[in-house]
Symmetry: C2
Subunit: 238 residues, 2 copies
Amino acid sequence: MTAADLPPEPPWWTPPKNSGPRRSLTRAAILAAARPILRAEGVDGLSMRRLATELGTGPASLYAHVANKDELLDLLFDQVVGEIALPEPDPARWREQFTALWTEAHETLMDNGDIARVSLGKVPLGPNAMRAAETMVVILTGAGIPAQPVAWALDAVPLYVAASAVENAIGVAQARAGNPPEEHYARVGAYFATLSPAHYPLMSTMARELAEGGRTERFAFGLDLLVRGLESHITPRR
Amino acid sequence: MTAADLPPEPPWWTPPKNSGPRRSLTRAAILAAARPILRAEGVDGLSMRRLATELGTGPASLYAHVANKDELLDLLFDQVVGEIALPEPDPARWREQFTALWTEAHETLMDNGDIARVSLGKVPLGPNAMRAAETMVVILTGAGIPAQPVAWALDAVPLYVAASAVENAIGVAQARAGNPPEEHYARVGAYFATLSPAHYPLMSTMARELAEGGRTERFAFGLDLLVRGLESHITPRR
DNA sequence: TCGCTAGTAGAACAGCGTTCGTCAACGAAC
DNA sequence: GTTCGTTGACGAACGCTGTTCTACTAGCGA
């Protein structure tokens, strides 16, 4: 895939001046090369230079295929979103389907570094994001939720999911960088336990509850809050 | 406050070698100088060089008072959080107080660029953030919500508020950069209206609802979802 | 009065996103 | 079959970033 994979030439040949055969650098190849870097190093670790090096070329070459890094991240985000499995909406199981959809979205995003943070800066309008949005709208509408709450939930829910994915991705990155992995919450809880009850009378009694649960449970709790809130918007179909 | 405010010296004087009188650069002065830059340019616009220039010195001088930019942002975040007015908890009005607290938090954060994004990367443990957390815990506990949901809500709610503040701050920054201000949602809505009903049968019928409401209403809706969810966790006091 | 410490700051390092200008290769046209 | 124009590739450079090294100096305690 990269230039290094081309068949080697006899070492006595004069190397083809300055450029080899016209390499066919494509947008798809750029995205494919970007994905592992994104997973391993996150958005900040994915630099144009690093990516170009991986492709055996210079950073300037990328700009023939991608307007800038922002656009590259947009493309990557939509590609990742495209890997979220979407259910066939079944009104009877809206709660389960809704929860499963966003739980998988959360996992897929977290699996790709902190890519979710590009969606905090702009409404994602890529084709895959749109497909996911339509699915969510169908599920909630089928559940009997009026159009306006559904429309606004299209803002609030992905916002929460993306924010949680970003937060957790940063935690995962720090874990990979040597810091303890899931003990993070435990340490924070221990810190809370040392709090002077004079300053924090109630919170200092809650050290156990504050340390309870990992990323998955905490995300599930927040998502469940939103589901319960949405449930309360259900009105009888007319 | 800055070096530029010192009384001018006669131009024929040899400037005091290389360093003027020992300026008393303090952490407080650094934070004070950082705030306007943060408001105007956001976290990315607040560079160590820019800040040092504002203080009439070089970037290296800042590192005697602040470990690095991350710590500086932590300090700024907690300072901003300290400006959120905290209510005297009154169990009878928990819903109103909870909503008011986080609405004001949202506004205060948005008023200071995208500072909220530092809280997406780490649990804020500054003194002011802790005070705010304790207040929220008291309010929710007083409402009759068990300790575990309260503890986890301490994760979910600030996460949503911060994410919304970041998203809106980016929008505000783009608005300041020439792009239309609140018409953003309208444009997105118009785009949605052009969607082929073949691809998005339901969403294409919701252009009006999708365009309805500004940042404030949308945030309020999401916060209300969380409140309704929390409400459903209330159990009778024993 | 001396010597030490702690704050100041210029210069530099390695990295970033992006742009400029050159150059070679291909498809089309004559 | 040869030439021309277009287009992708890409080395070099620009201006920026956070941070560190190092020299220096001013003030304070002894």
